[in-house]
Symmetry: D2
Subunit: 257 residues, 4 copies
């Protein structure tokens, strides 16, 4: 039975004066921060500030590369070639590495963002491109991926560790996929329920689907939380405490994977 888990959150998603999220409220309660790299969100000033904020809370940092679609926030699928996927990854991840070096911290992980994450989860070639580009830049990076996905498999084949990710506040379907955001029952808002699901997922690798069936997700290493509303920020705090109460140690995934 696992007794450790990481909590990750997408941060640094402001863009110039377009302020998004509640980074300073969320940061104290998480252990890994996924930093937007400038393609779907995140300008250089924001990247710099967010990495310094993460450092001050001992939060591990990761690059969160996305599709080059600021207007769509990287949430729209786009046709990209494997050459483009390779080079977009190198561009974005190495930019984050520069800020990490400037702040005196080391890059822990890479988590593709939005549509790129969803596309990579299903596409072997795309995953291979992203993972190999990441490994060239730093050969001990951890890749955040859905359990059993093409992205998880590509990481293992490439020799990078995988952190299997659980979405504590998102509903799952029977096949282990997330219920799309467009459906009304896709988000779980009640804090107690979110905590219960997280504990079960960490301990048993299981989640109850939206159709009330037990889904086997396998071993899980990191819980993704959303931090872009005041309620969400509070939810993270509750989750962290709930895990502690259940004797599950919350720490950056690089410490136990």
């Amino acid at each position: 039975m696992k007794t450790q888990v990481d909590i990750n959150c997408d941060l640094g998603e402001s863009y110039g004066p377009f302020t998004v999220g509640n980074d300073s409220k969320v940061m104290p309660h998480i252990t890994s921060a996924n930093i937007a790299c400038g393609y779907h969100a995140g300008d250089p000033n924001t990247i710099s500030k967010t990495i310094k904020l993460a450092k001050s809370h001992n939060v591990a940092i990761g690059a969160h590369p996305g599709l080059p679609d600021l207007m769509g926030f990287g949430r729209r699928e786009m046709q990209v070639t494997t050459e483009e996927a390779t080079n977009y990854t190198i561009y974005q991840v190495s930019a984050i590495q520069g800020f990490a070096k400037a702040a005196g911290v080391s890059l822990q992980h890479v988590k593709p963002h939005g549509a790129l994450y969803n596309m990579a989860a299903k596409d072997e070639k795309l995953s291979k491109a992203i993972v190999e580009a990441s490994r060239i830049l730093k050969d001990d990076l951890i890749i955040f991926a859905p359990p059993k996905s093409a992205l998880a498999k590509a990481s293992i084949r490439t020799g990078l560790r995988v952190a299997n990710e659980f979405f504590a506040d998102r509903a799952y379907d029977n096949d282990g996929s997330l219920v799309p955001r467009t459906q009304t029952d896709s988000i779980i808002q009640e804090p107690r329920k979110v905590v219960e699901r997280a504990i079960r997922a960490v301990r048993e690798g299981q989640v109850l689907s939206v159709k009330n069936e037990t889904v086997e997700l396998g071993e899980l290493h990191t819980i993704c939380v959303h931090g872009d509303t005041p309620a969400a920020a509070r939810l993270v705090e509750v989750l962290r405490k709930g895990l502690a109460t259940a004797n599950i140690k919350v720490e950056p995934v690089s410490r136990f994977i």
Copy 2:
């Protein structure tokens, strides 16, 4: 009397299918390539290809960070704070470092582009921001700068080497500044004249101004050439041969500075 010099050129300035320049024609004749970093020009695929091309010709590579103004090609002055200058430099230079690492080459230098170069030449604080950000990323980088400029001085104070730059095909004013491109006599097109000027500049640190006065530029380390027209590409070839005939060795600036 100097007997060595570097020849540098701005390359990798295409953007997706917007093809600019004659990179493959120019590359065989230069010794240092300034690679556009995505802000004024240069997309990730172009950066990757250009660095590989440079490597295949043993051309040293540098980052060529610009202002975030694709539509204006980074040639328009913009108000930027020192914080922005710092972070735009980290973002762009570290992105190039990533591609350099992927190609198995090392970053030799940083040369600010266009309006950023002109602004830095005169502005101490801006220069300090750019140079210190560069040094954080790699502490043996060389900064390309106009001789005696604020940028050259900031580099020295920061502990980075400076390559004093000469523009062989641009007319100079009596004060050592370049005649603006908007003037008709700003560009020197006759190859023989360009070669003569380059030889004199390297040997004696002097150039004849547009008003026929001798201008003392001091020691010069690198000659900037333009490669964006077929004629310009041929000019580089002629220049390289002319320097060889004059017993001036042409090699990357990191070998002799």
Copy 3:
């Protein structure tokens, strides 16, 4: 003594999922909306929604063209030629006209945004370019401008009406210019004070400067309010009521200019 005034606010400044402002809270209390056009802020979906929202509240609409600097929100001065100013104006204003036509409303005014507004206030050629481009698109447009500015003068010379603008929540210097945002005393937050200043400005064309001197601004037609914070949205409501209590009729500027 004037007994009418317009209240204008910059709206439609979201960009894709980057949500800025409290448009739905502010709209009921203003009479003219300045719609961001996509260069400094505002994507097509946002433009469409904002114009429909304005229509539903009988708020007159104007185009709010800015510099092509999304990352800097159009607040940074940039070198632009008069040709660029002309064409950036045509591009942005006609885009807004299209959405106005689709919504069945007519464009009332043009107000340059941010750095473009500040630059135009002082620069005759730039103002001429912006104003003439606007007139070509619609010859009864009103230009929003600081009283006595180059922009106001260019509008009159071009044959367009000018709405002299007063900033109710910004401190003025003795010469009638705004105290820069970077100074701590630049913003007036106390609602009662803002209302008093607005009433005096409308009735007497005067404002008390930050150095306690009376500044003659001349006739004023529109009061600019900020709507990007919850407090600001409430302030607009208070201002509207305060003007009504003082028997100053608040309506779109095209009705009385």
Copy 4:
């Protein structure tokens, strides 16, 4: 038997100093110009110049709206909602209308660009969004579309005229679709062949497929030519003369549709 046809070309695809195409070489030989609108290519200065150039050659102008993907030149498919398609069309087409008004010409047509054209050809809802948005802006616009496509049908249902388009220098498959550019036999370069195909297409509505079968395309109104290489520009000239020799009158499609 048809004896008239229009020749159209994508123009105005430069972006700031990124120069694309040979607009001044191509313009004398065509009758309709598709003007890039700023999303996949085309900045305001370029739009302005291109429309003036078209006017000076009596070439009819059309808007050529694309996906918001400058780096990919609008050639990559992207998920867009119908709301986005509607508003991207309004934004881009009305911007072109503004420049047309400034130049004293009228907008003749709308032709979606690249991936948007290909997506619309197959997708009813997307086509409906694009066509209805166009009609709101100008109710006598002509839509350029592949014969029998979803885009053609949506135009007719919406009450707009359709110009069925033939690609003279592209190979067709048996089902009437274009052979993808990625295949080696997708482009027909021999001028004589291009002219023969164009004449047959105009007269008989037929083309010989890449597999040597006769494909019935139906009535064709406009021939698309490429103008982005010196060879292509000469090809347009040859095509124009070849059609004249065959007694096919070449004129803007609005004159005969």
